[in-house]
Symmetry: C3
Subunit: 341 residues, 3 copies
Amino acid sequence: MPKNFLTTADWTREQLEDLIASAQRFKSGEDASKPLAGKSIALVFFNPSLRTRASMQVGIYELGGNAVVLEPGGTSWTLEHRAGTVMDGDKTEHVAEFVGVLGRYCAAIGVRTFAALKNWEEERRDPVLSAFAEYADVPIINLESAMHHPCQALADMMTIREKFGEGKKRVLLTWAWHPKPLPMAVPNSFALAAAQMGHDLTIAHPPGYELDDELVREINTHAFDAGSTVRVTDDVNEAFKGAEVVYAKSWGSRRFYGTPEDDIEARAEFRQDWIVDEAKMARTTDDSIFMHCLPVRRNVIVTDRVIDSSSSVVIDEAENRLHAQKAVLKLIAECGLRNAE
Amino acid sequence: MPKNFLTTADWTREQLEDLIASAQRFKSGEDASKPLAGKSIALVFFNPSLRTRASMQVGIYELGGNAVVLEPGGTSWTLEHRAGTVMDGDKTEHVAEFVGVLGRYCAAIGVRTFAALKNWEEERRDPVLSAFAEYADVPIINLESAMHHPCQALADMMTIREKFGEGKKRVLLTWAWHPKPLPMAVPNSFALAAAQMGHDLTIAHPPGYELDDELVREINTHAFDAGSTVRVTDDVNEAFKGAEVVYAKSWGSRRFYGTPEDDIEARAEFRQDWIVDEAKMARTTDDSIFMHCLPVRRNVIVTDRVIDSSSSVVIDEAENRLHAQKAVLKLIAECGLRNAE
Amino acid sequence: MPKNFLTTADWTREQLEDLIASAQRFKSGEDASKPLAGKSIALVFFNPSLRTRASMQVGIYELGGNAVVLEPGGTSWTLEHRAGTVMDGDKTEHVAEFVGVLGRYCAAIGVRTFAALKNWEEERRDPVLSAFAEYADVPIINLESAMHHPCQALADMMTIREKFGEGKKRVLLTWAWHPKPLPMAVPNSFALAAAQMGHDLTIAHPPGYELDDELVREINTHAFDAGSTVRVTDDVNEAFKGAEVVYAKSWGSRRFYGTPEDDIEARAEFRQDWIVDEAKMARTTDDSIFMHCLPVRRNVIVTDRVIDSSSSVVIDEAENRLHAQKAVLKLIAECGLRNAE
């Protein structure tokens, strides 16, 4: 079993299934265990958060533990993650000491560190998250990094399971327009987990909005192993046809990476074509569901009519963050205890 | 029983009396119940807070629960509260999703959302608080909105009861000078609750500092129902005569609303006349008390001699915030449980 | 027994020994008591914090209590600490009310208030911390003030005891270069506590970086009482000879106090000479230890080779913050209970 929860790719389908089953036992109330009693969990937020922060704090409390939230300010408290540096610049502490110390106080460390959207080749390697994992003695939980958001993906897979039961579904990940370029962690992790879970996946986006090449290869490998299919298309109307799960998300183009304001005109043309509206949803199956990780801009990503319809499961999906994360925390606490023996 | 605690006006005098009695049982130690055991309460602060935040966190803990504090930054995390908007501006999430999700994690939501002091006609309708109440499935507790601060008013009424016992008192709400225009939530809620509780109320302020017209009508209606009187005066010295309770508070003028820096000269003339000092307190009864919601600027609103005198009950009043809020939380938890059955 | 924990100088060596012994019982697991059950502790941070905040939150939880963190913003919430002021400037609340109210909600108040590095004569008297202690009815714990960091010093003395057992050690406090002038609280409190505990102390720094004169006299008095020695030197290489404990720390020069950017050139010359490297550590005893309070700039204060060597105890030292603070909190809780009876 992996020590950390950095990406679902480190976990087998069977392990993910076990986590989803555990999450469902928390949701039903069947599991009311307190595996974190007497333990503290550090939650380090380099970026703002509502759902992640609130659901982690509530989940840790419900498991009997104590959440310690740390929010390093952009300028007030900066961490060096590179080895061997002469730290005479603006970084005041090295990740080595930061996580070394936190690991003495806390049983695990959750960390949120978004893409800075400045240097794709550097950020795609998730250097800050990787440094946390390298230097920490305690488990690291990824609360959204530049590349991955595995807690979200686990809640997403749980939501699909909850609505449709077991079995392969036709899942559409569809790009949407947004006034600003957004990170890719959510679409990356959703596509990866959907492939791991054996769903047939369609990824729809305009030309120029391709996901990371290596990640797409990884997605294809997982799909092949699971006996499912992946297709990528820029035909948004075709993409919705027969979909059972519609997962909308905006993300920025790597073509404009590092020059975030330069693609406003480039992306404007896609605005009306790519919004999720009733016309597009009419092409899906009768019992299809609409998903989004939230926060969502209404009438930009999705129309009021769709998000307020009975097919929208966005609030359930957000609720499942709580249960999925409790499952991850429980497993980590139990493994940590087992390792310690 | 109302689902939410938005303003004392939604609650009958009998219900308010029950809350005060419950608060007194918490203060005396007679009630040590833990109605929030296993439950989380979200506290959403759009504005800074000391007493409210600390007293809510302590009260929730003492009731067995878990406080989740969320502080949306002015720019980093902004909420749209209007229905039907195309969200392509600076608002990143709609209140509908925000409270929908929080309601899945938490048993109730407290929210602080001050007046922006920009547009009186809009702000007097408390649009953000109203949107929270409209979209939430769980109870909403007002931790100070543009128009109301009912937790403060409940603690104020408890403090008067604690000092004087039952019965009608002569209560003075008196304006004071302050270098900046301040919101009206505290004077609004104090005057309203004092009228609801049947006290004889004097509201003293310089010309131009009238409270909201509709609110004053509401205050008069409550006073009429309770068999008590309301008078409004700009004669500060006359106002103190025979008062048993002196409640000082500065607030801004609606004449200058939206142009906050333009009334500095207009208000300067009132500075010396309206400070609460020993000369004014000498006109009150021998056992009169001095109240203020805090924070207070010493020697601006009130002199050191008055606030440090034995008639000052400001620290007791602040302490009662804790007990009053525990009473509100307990009632909400019990009603929530009852409704759920 | 002192009511507050403001500086180790208020406590006798025997009392400090008792605190260290208590901390060791927490660390070993022998003491699992919950003296804070049902109690809340306020933690007021005027300045950023990692170790102090996390270790206090975890310690309070492990003692059964509830930590209430308050972070007054630089501009949003400012406290007046001087008596008799007319508060018509930028300060919105007086410490008198601030701590008076917190004392009604919480059993003790921890406060962090760094030196502003503006006016030495004023800041060396620790005016904000002193006002907290003067106005509070509940115990005040110093979480680092302009002059003192007693929780750090207690953890430091515990670490020396843990590594070497009882008895007098040769302890070196050695200055290091840093791109910015830093406060003196840590070196002050370390030197003071080392003298109180009877260690032979060498303080090494370049000319112009003298510690506060009165504090140095106090250190000498404690050393005399404990039968140990103090010497001050600017010969860094000589200073390391035979040291058993090397405690590195940068601090600013009082010559440049209030003009923080003017000493960049003045201090640059000391950069290479004063870094703690393997050559200097080779002059110490074979079993010597390297200490630093963290955060530390690698390859500026200390080389990677030293901080990553087996003689480095910086993570243990940081861990001991947790145990030492639990000992302080336990003692305060028990004394508070005893006084209340």
